[in-house]
Each structure stands twice: as structure tokens, then as C-alpha cells.
């Protein structure tokens, strides 16, 4: 725990207090447990399965198929991510810096698209934009017919590269938005105003001053996009397959779900590729940030007048609404419509709409129990993960030690591993003796916590960085020990950001499908499993109905929590 020595000194050194408080003990134990829960199963899976099979690994890695799916993944993530980055940056700028911001939208926007589970949202877009039967296409064709253009199919086709990239971008945008907008909020607006007074228009200011100074936030955004993009499974499985585009995460999942015995070597070797990509991206980002000549958070009262958009205000708002529409409203409406249909068809017969699908869902015990289980699980996962990440963030913030950085690095690793691989790793490691956790909620919770910890720690780290050290020091000088400092001061101050992070985790874990398929026990069905089940043997209207229910439930929970949890950014020093 000793801080690195500043200067070696000849004289007798005063003794550093080395008393181990229960807090230090508990937080290091928590860190150790977390690290163990990542290193043991993941290490066991990789070393146990791949250790003996190096030639096979090399073969997988060099096979033309791997290269092809890798190339596809890179193209999808690069194109989708770039688009998401652009959209996210523009949205963040509009919402943080201009008078086109819409109060409610600014807070709800980042989470909106995630309310609809990714697999449901992708199916929603299938409903909307398949060339012949897509609702949008159907109505567009009717519109075009009015002006004398007659088409048989199209004009949109979701099952193409552009379609795939489009949906990737929609689902990645929130992550870009979150990172960039938090960076923008802490960038001194005077830098931009100085540019304006120097004769720069708003757009020029954005490109010449704002973006170059946001590099750390932009780096974080890119890192998030890369990690999440390469792990994205639902979008490519729904859209990519029909577009004849197979991407790496889908191949990994297929390698273990479509064959028995599962092809673990392929899955793990491909996962290695993803881990490498993420680790390299992480290193590059650290280098960029470390070099940094960037603006720091400005002096007191950095209060900017919002950029007046003038005649661009309406287009800017339309852009924001358009994004909301594309990611959330349109697919949700499509799902809602289909959920009341007997079967998916663009010729909507409003008289024939029926609630049968909901009745059918209600009658399925596994769905009913899945929903309650998933809510419970999501509640537990989000809470545990949030608290854990807050604790770990505080630990490495308080004591900038090498060990702290190692912990920080290790908890990021699961982000790069396909959920299903994590699921298998956990099953292998903990199903049997001495743990015998098979089929228990405990196993699911543990796995979810590990899977979502990287995301949670992203939030916790940014939350804690907004708290000045004097908040903690004031508590220490007041005589408070670690627990009290953490529980009474640090945690409440982190709360607004943590609540937002909690909501995200809640939604993501409520809709998690891949690890759940491996781990959900007979006594503990979860929603993710039910979704996957309906996808492989069910009907789209039923699937739509389930998606609508999940979306409605998560939205309600999250909005309630956000309303109760207070507004963001109230945690700064007075």
C-alpha cells in the first residue's frame, strides 16, 4: 500500500501508518474476488482448452473463413462505429451546447435506444425495411405510387451492407453519445466562445476547437465503440445472416450453439482475436490520453450561453427526433403493431388485430417466470455491479497504485469476450463441485456481474472523477474513517451518475440472451432465453409481444428510478 517513494532520503523515515482498516480489507477482498472470478474461469477456459491445441488455434486463426468474418466484423464496426461516432458527436453537441437542446430529451436520449432490446430492435427493423414486406417499404411504395412511381420491391432493403451498418450505427450511438457528452460538459465553454469572438462560425468552431480538445473523451468513445461493437451479436445475427454477411461474434456463438460437441477451439481462438483488438485499442487510447495537451475542466462558474442555432434550430431538433424515431420509436411501433397481428404482414387489417399473442405469452409459464426472474436478476446485477464498480473506482482513485491499475485492467477484459463464451467458462468453472452452482440464480448473477462490470466501471470512473478530492479530505479531517467517507460522502455524490449507469445495466442484463442460454436453469428461466427460444422456434408476433412487454417493463423501471434518483450533475462541490 506504500505510495511509490518520491525521493530516497538518508534520514530515518517516519513510519507510514499501516493499520489495515476494515474498509481497505473489504475493498481489496472485493477486488481480489472480482479478479478471481474473471481470471479463474476465463483462464481455465482459454488455457485449459487452448493450451494443448496450439496448432489448431493457429489453423483457426489463419483459415480464410476466420479472416472473412473478421474482415466483415471490422468493416461493420468501423463503418457502423464511425457513423455512430458522428451521430453521437452531433447529438451530444446539440444537446449540451446549443439552444436546440430539448430538456427532457437531453437526459432520456442516451438511454432511449437501449430500452428496446437489441434483438427486438433489429427484428423491428426487419419488420420495417425488408424489401417487399417491410412496413416502411410498403407505405413508401404507396406514397410513391401517388406520384406515379410504381415499384414492386424496395426502395429500402435492410438485408444489405448499408442496412447492417445502419442498424449497427443506431445501436452503437448511445455509447458514443454518453462518452462525448460527458466530455463536452466538462470542456470549458470559453474555449469555444473565444473561437466565436475570433470570427469562427459554429461549424468551424466545432471542427477547429471543440473536437480537437475533446480528444480524451473521443478516445474513450472510440474505445467503447470498439469494445461494444465487436461484442454485438443480436444485430448481425438478425440482419447479417439474411444479408449473407457473417461477422465474428456470430461465428463465435454459432461455433458453440450449432454443433455438438461444441467447437470451443474455434470460439476461443476467435475470442482471442477480439481480446487482442480491444487490448490494442485500449493501449492506443492510453497513449493518446497520456500524451495529452488537452483542455482541463475550466475555472469557476464555467457557464456558457448556448450556441444560437437560428434557422438551424428546427433541423437540429428534427435530427434529434429523427434519431430517437429511428432507434426507438419506429422499431417499437413496428413491434407493437406486429404483436397485435396474427402473423406479420404489411397489409395491416386493423379490424383483425388481436391481443391473443399477449394471452398466449401469459399462458407460457416459462415466459411469466422468465420475466419475474429477469427483473429480479437485473435488479440484483445492476445493484451489485454498480456498488462494486463504485467501490473499485474509489479504491483506485484513492490509492493510485500499480495493483489498482491491474484491477482496473482485469475487469475490462470480459468486455472483449463473447457473452456465450463467458457463459461456458462459468459453467465449466462453477457448475460442478465444489461450487455446484448449476442452474442457480447465483451463477447467473455472478456471470452477469462479470459481463457488465466493464460498462459499470466506465460510469463509476467518470462519476468519481467529477468529485473533487477535497470532498473526501474534508470528511477525513472531520474524523471520518473509510466506511463513513465512502458511504456518507463519496457514494451519495456519485449517485446521479451511478443511477444512470444502473439504469443502463438494468436494461442490458434484463435483455441478455447469450450467457443466459448457457446458464439459465430449469428452475430459473430468464427472458433472454425466452427471446432466443421464440427466435429459434416460435412466431414473430409472439416475439414482438414479448419485446413490447420487456420494453414497457424496463422503461417503467428505469424512468421511475431516474425520476427518484435525482438529476445528474448535482454532485459537484458548491
Amino acid at each position: 500500500m506504500q505510495r511509490p517513494e518520491t525521493v530516497p532520503l538518508g534520514a530515518a523515515r517516519p513510519q507510514r501508518a499501516t493499520r489495515f482498516s476494515s474498509f481497505t480489507l473489504v475493498s481489496w477482498v472485493a477486488a481480489a474476488v472480482v479478479v478471481a472470478f474473471i481470471v479463474y474461469p476465463v483462464g481455465r477456459a482459454f488455457i485449459g482448452e487452448l493450451g494443448m491445441e496450439l496448432p489448431a488455434v493457429v489453423e483457426v486463426l489463419t483459415s480464410s473463413r476466420t479472416l472473412e468474418v473478421l474482415r466483415n466484423a471490422v468493416v461493420a464496426v468501423a463503418a457502423g462505429g464511425a457513423l455512430a461516432f458522428l451521430i453521437g458527436a452531433v447529438l451530444a453537441w446539440i444537446n449540451v451546447r446549443t439552444d436546440a437542446r430539448m430538456g427532457w430529451a437531453a437526459e432520456a436520449l442516451p438511454l432511449m435506444p437501449l430500452f428496446v432490446p437489441a434483438i427486438a430492435g433489429s427484428i423491428g427493423w426487419v419488420f420495417l425495411a425488408t424489401p417487399e414486406a417491410g412496413f416502411l417499404n410498403y407505405w413508401l411504395r404507396k406514397l410513391l405510387a401517388l406520384v406515379g412511381v410504381h415499384l414492386q420491391t424496395g426502395p429500402l432493403d435492410i438485408f444489405t451492407w448499408p442496412g447492417l451498418v445502419f442498424v449497427y450505427a443506431l445501436y452503437l450511438t448511445p455509447y458514443a453519445y454518453l462518452a462525448i457528452s460527458s466530455g463536452l460538459q466538462s470542456l470549458d465553454p470559453a474555449l469555444e466562445e473565444a473561437a466565436q469572438v475570433s470570427g469562427c462560425g459554429p461549424v468551424q468552431t466545432l471542427f477547429r476547437v471543440t473536437l480537437p480538445n475533446l480528444k480524451p473523451a473521443l478516445g474513450a468513445a472510440v474505445l467503447q465503440l470498439i469494445t461494444i461493437g465487436f461484442a454485438l451479436f443480436s444485430v448481425p445475427v438478425v440482419i447479417g445472416t439474411s444479408a449473407q454477411i457473417e461477422v465474428l461474434p456470430v461465428s463465435i456463438v454459432h461455433a458453440v450453439t450449432r454443433k455438438y460437441p461444441p467447437d470451443l477451439i474455434t470460439a476461443l481462438s476467435m475470442s482471442l482475436v477480439l481480446i487482442t483488438i480491444v487490448v490494442v485499442a485500449w493501449l492506443v487510447e492510453r497513449r493518446i490520453v497520456a500524451k495529452g495537451r488537452f483542455a482541463r475542466i475550466g475555472g469557476r462558474g464555467a457557464r456558457a450561453a448556448l450556441v444560437t442555432m437560428g434557422r438551424w434550430k428546427l433541423p437540429a431538433r428534427l435530427f434529434v427526433l429523427g434519431y430517437l424515431g429511428a432507434t426507438s420509436v419506429l422499431p417499437f411501433l413496428a413491434l407493437l403493431l406486429v404483436s397485435f397481428q396474427g402473423f406479420w404482414t404489411p397489409q395491416v387489417d386493423f379490424g383483425a388485430l388481436t391481443g391473443d399473442n399477449y394471452v398466449d405469452l401469459w399462458n407460457r409459464l416459462s415466459v411469466r417466470r422468465g420475466i419475474t426472474n429477469s427483473l429480479l436478476l437485473a435488479l440484483m446485477t445492476a445493484t451489485i455491479t454498480t456498488l462494486l464498480s463504485a467501490l473499485l473506482a474509489y479504491l483506485s482513485y484513492r490509492r493510485r497504485s500499480f495493483l489498482g491499475r491491474v484491477v482496473d485492467g482485469v475487469i475490462k477484459v470480459p468486455a472483449a469476450i463473447s457473452h456465450i463464451v463467458v457463459g461456458i467458462a462459468f459453467l465449466v468453472a462453477f457448475a460442478g463441485p465444489p461450487f455446484r452452482w448449476n442452474g442457480t440464480l447465483l451463477l447467473l448473477v455472478t456471470t452477469y456481474v462479470v459481463i457488465f462490470l466493464p460498462q459499470a466501471s466506465f460510469y463509476a470512473n467518470s462519476a468519481i472523477q467529477q468529485i473533487g478530492p477535497e470532498m473526501r479530505e474534508a470528511a477525513e479531517v472531520s474524523g471520518a474513517r473509510d466506511w463513513r467517507v465512502f458511504l456518507r460522502v463519496i457514494l451519495p455524490l456519485m449517485a446521479p451518475s451511478l443511477v444512470a449507469g444502473w439504469s443502463l445495466l438494468f436494461i442490458l442484463s434484463a435483455g441478455e440472451i447469450n450467457a443466459s442460454a448457457m446458464l439459465a436453469g430449469p428452475g430459473s428461466p430468464v427472458v433472454g432465453q425466452a427471446i432466443l427460444d421464440l427466435w429459434t422456434s416460435g412466431t414473430f408476433p409472439l416475439l414482438a409481444a414479448l419485446s413490447v412487454v420487456i420494453t414497457a417493463v424496463s422503461t417503467t423501471v428505469v424512468l421511475t428510478v431516474l425520476a427518484l434518483g435525482g438529476r445528474p450533475n448535482s454532485g459537484n462541490a458548491p
Binding site: 414486406a133 445472416t241 450449432r258 454443433k259 455438438y260 404482414t345 448449476n438 416460435g538
Partner: protein, 314 residues
């Protein structure tokens, strides 16, 4: 072994099973028939059936991981991959069916019982689903699918996604040669992730036809009035599901009782009504074997899967 050796006659089995009160079934048959037979069993004996329903490789994978870890959570397992069940037998995970305890085992057709351990419970015949609005006349022959009229209008479930699809394709290849599959590729068949999106898209009018498709997928659509129909062309095969009882599972008696129920006429009707072919032949509501039905050979299919996929240009 567990408590299985302790009990003896039929009447005792019911009692012992009822004492256990519950039975866990790992299964990859579609949800609706599974629920039907589970409900029927519960009504008959008051024993709840805990269903874990997933795609067959996932079922197999979970089952074996659990057994490897020294556990047996599933009392029964039902999957189409007979060769996997053979492997399980070798590992001692499955229980030889005790003739003295299963009333219906005597009557059970011999060709539907393998190694005295696992038995065929259900077979869903594979057919072609087509949109009746877009195609006035049903295809008569597999070669009708090569019609240029259908170019780009046929969805095909990913043959890599399911071994039974490969088995089916390998029968077609046997019959028509490789050129047939290449012809399909030339006719621009479109790959879909599984039979579900394919058939849903046919119902929506996105495509004209899809195969392989199954009654369990088409029936609910037809019931809701979708313009979709399933035809069986010759030759064809089906998804045959085999059930086995675990050795050393937590509810050995309930497992046996449920296996016995699956062999009963009542159980067969509950499981197969409207969906499948029963090994007991034509029972009320079960499907007849379509013309040209050939039993699938999944073990061979496994070897040919990659090649078939390549022939289709996927």
C-alpha cells in the same frame, strides 16, 4: 443407481414418482407440443414437468457439461442427434430402460427403440412452406424449386444451423445429385438464420417459398389466417427426436413414469397431435408419414454438412 433399484412393480412406480413430485426434461422439440404433453402428464399423475427447452446442440452441450461436472439436472433428455445419445451411453450417463417398470415398453415398436436406452418419440416431416397468395399452385416436385420464376424468392434455413437440415439436404443430393443443390444456388436462394424467420417472411409476402420448414412452424401461422401452406415433396425426411432417461438423476421414478407416458397412446397423441408422426402409427390427429419419407442419418450428415453448405454457395 440412486434409488432406482429400490422400487419394483408398476403401481409402486407411480407412487414413488408422485413422492418425487417433479420431473425435469431437457428437450429441443418446439414449445407447443412440449407444453401439451407436459400438461397431459401433470393432469394424469399430478407431477409437474419442468421443461428446459433449447436448440438441440445447446441442450446436448448443457447436458454434457453438467454431467462432466458430476451433476445430472435433467431427468430426461430429448434431442434428434442419436449419435450423441450413443456417446452418452458410453459415458454411462443414460439408463437402460427397465422393461419391468415400463408398462408400455412391450407394445413399443422395436425399430423405435435403440440399445434399450433411447426411443423415438416424435418426427416432424420436412416440407416446403409457400405463400398461397403469390403461388397459386403448390410445387409438385423438388425440381420445381429450380423454376426461374422463383429466382431470389426462396428462403432457406441455414444448413449449418441444424444437423437435421443437413441430413435432409444429403437425401436430396442422393436423389438428384450435386447439380440440384448448385441449381438452387443459381436460383439465388437466400439464407435465413433458421426456419422461423424464413417462414415468417413467407407469410408476410417477403418471399414466395421457404424450406426446410416444419408443421410446428407453419401451423400457428395458418391458424392465424396467414396465406401460407406446407407441402411435402418426395423424397423427404423429418426431424426425429429421441428421448433417454438419465442415470443417477434427482427424480428417477418420475423420469421413468414420464418416459412410460411418452410411449403411451395418450402421451403420443398429446405430443404429436397436429405436429408430428408417431412411432405408433396413425393415431388421432397425428400426421401420417408423407410419401417418400426416409429416416435421416445425422451421423453422415455431420460429415457432409460443410460440403452441402458449400454447394449451396453459402
Amino acid at each position: 443407481g440412486g434409488g432406482s433399484s429400490a422400487d419394483s412393480e408398476g403401481g409402486d412406480l407411480v407412487e414413488a414418482a408422485q413422492k418425487e413430485g417433479i420431473v425435469t426434461w431437457y428437450v429441443s422439440i418446439p414449445d407447443e407440443p412440449v407444453q401439451a404433453v407436459a400438461n397431459a402428464f401433470e393432469q394424469e399423475y399430478g407431477i409437474a414437468v419442468e421443461v428446459v427447452r433449447m436448440g438441440s446442440p445447446v441442450v446436448a452441450q448443457r447436458y454434457s457439461t453438467e454431467r462432466d461436472a458430476g451433476q445430472a439436472v435433467g431427468d430426461l433428455v430429448t434431442i434428434p442427434e442419436a449419435h450423441v445419445l450413443d456417446e452418452y451411453i458410453e459415458k454411462g450417463w443414460l439408463r437402460t430402460l427397465p422393461a419391468d417398470q415400463l408398462e408400455n415398453l412391450d407394445e413399443w415398436p422395436e425399430e423405435a427403440l435403440h440399445k434399450d436406452t433411447y426411443f423415438l418419440v416424435n418426427s416432424q416431416p420436412i416440407g416446403v412452406a409457400y405463400n398461397t397468395d403469390k403461388l397459386s399452385e403448390a410445387p409438385q416436385d423438388w425440381e420445381d424449386l429450380l423454376d426461374p420464376k422463383l429466382k431470389g424468392e426462396i428462403d432457406m434455413a441455414d444448413p449449418m444451423s441444424f444437423l437435421s437440415w443437413a441430413a435432409f439436404l444429403s437425401i436430396l443430393k442422393e436423389e438428384y445429385g450435386e447439380e440440384f443443390l448448385e441449381g438452387l444456388a443459381d436460383n439465388d436462394i437466400k439464407k435465413v438464420d433458421s426456419a422461423i424467420p424464413g417462414t415468417q417472411q413467407v407469410a408476410a409476402g417477403e418471399s414466395i417459398a421457404t424450406f426446410p420448414s416444419l408443421p410446428s412452424v407453419v401451423n400457428p401461422l395458418k391458424e392465424s389466417g396467414a396465406p401460407v401452406e406446407l407441402v411435402y415433396l418426395s423424397p423427404t425426411t423429418g426431424v426425429e427426436q429421441y428421448t433417454a432417461v438419465s442415470e443417477g438423476s434427482p427424480h428417477p421414478n418420475a423420469a421413468l413414469l414420464f418416459a412410460d407416458f411418452l410411449m403411451s397412446e395418450k402421451g403420443q397423441i398429446a405430443l404429436n397431435e397436429g405436429f408430428g408422426i408417431s412411432p405408433l402409427g396413425d393415431l388421432a390427429g397425428t400426421l401420417p408419414k408423407p410419401e417418400g419419407y426416409v429416416a435421416p442419418d445425422l451421423a453422415t450428415a455431420r460429415e457432409e454438412q460443410e460440403q452441402l453448405n458449400a454447394l449451396l454457395g453459402f
